[in-house]
Amino acid sequence: MKISVIKELLGAEVVCGEDQLDREVYSACGSDMMSDVLAYVKDQAVLLTGLVNPQVVRTAEMMDMVCIVFVRSKSPTAEMVALAREHGMVLLKTTKRMYEACGKLYANGLVGNGVAR
């Protein structure tokens, strides 16, 4: 799925990374616990989260993720946007809640598999 399709499906706003919207991604995960993202995520390229702090971007960078979707209208800080830009990452923001945002993407073919064990 192209990141631009994620944007459409979630009615999301692009915070940064407009030039990366053509990138293809195949799986995603949703979590507010970065501990769990670090422990369970394998190759998911997209992170949906309601958590806002710089460790969200750093955690995604450590996991080689390419796109973060902030749910429940959470806005990343200027520091987070700067970090994401540095890593060439796309940040999206949607008014949808976690359950609905994940469900929409899953139903449209963005899988969630890749649990590390």
């Binding site: 616990m33 501990s35 670090l38 702090n53 460790q55 969200v56 750093r58 955690t59 520091e79």
Partner: protein, 140 residues
């Protein structure tokens, strides 16, 4: 083991927002050195977990990364409260993190087991009241 590159960082324990900066820097350096991506992944995750631990449990510390011919070694040293029962701390789900840390997205008790899982060797030395030394190796 002939040492080729050595990276050194002071990890600030005062400011949670900066936690993880050293690991981001290491990842960048490993990329520039042309280290294979799957090795970079392992080193980055293990070091990031260890770095976050130093910030949330030990008030900061020092991190050193040695890139040698046959392995990458990560050394984390702090002068925090130490770990009284290492075996217990290594269990998945064991955490002494306060709620304030959990609301920042950490404190599930997954870090140490994850560090073990992503590295080929891991040694923890800790003395209550003195601090904690962790050495991890990922073979190249």
């Amino acid at each position: 083991m002939s040492e080729t590159v050595r990276l050194y960082f002071d990890v600030d324990g005062e400011d949670f927002t900066s936690a993880g900066q050293a690991s981001v820097q290491v990842k960048k350096s490993l990329r520039q050195l042309g280290i294979p991506p799957e090795i970079i992944r392992k080193v980055s995750i293990a070091m990031y977990e260890g770095e976050i631990n130093m910030v949330i449990h030990a008030g900061g510390g020092k991190a050193e990364v040695l890139i040698c011919e046959d392995c990458i070694e990560i050394r984390l040293r702090d002068q925090g409260p130490g770990i009284a029962n290492i075996e217990q701390a290594m269990q998945e789900g064991f955490s002494t993190a306060p709620d304030a840390i959990r609301s920042l997205g950490f404190g599930a008790g997954m870090g140490l087991p994850n560090m073990k899982r992503y590295t080929d060797e891991m040694k923890i030395e800790s003395e209550p009241g003195k601090g904690t030394d962790i050495t991890m190796r990922v073979y190249l």
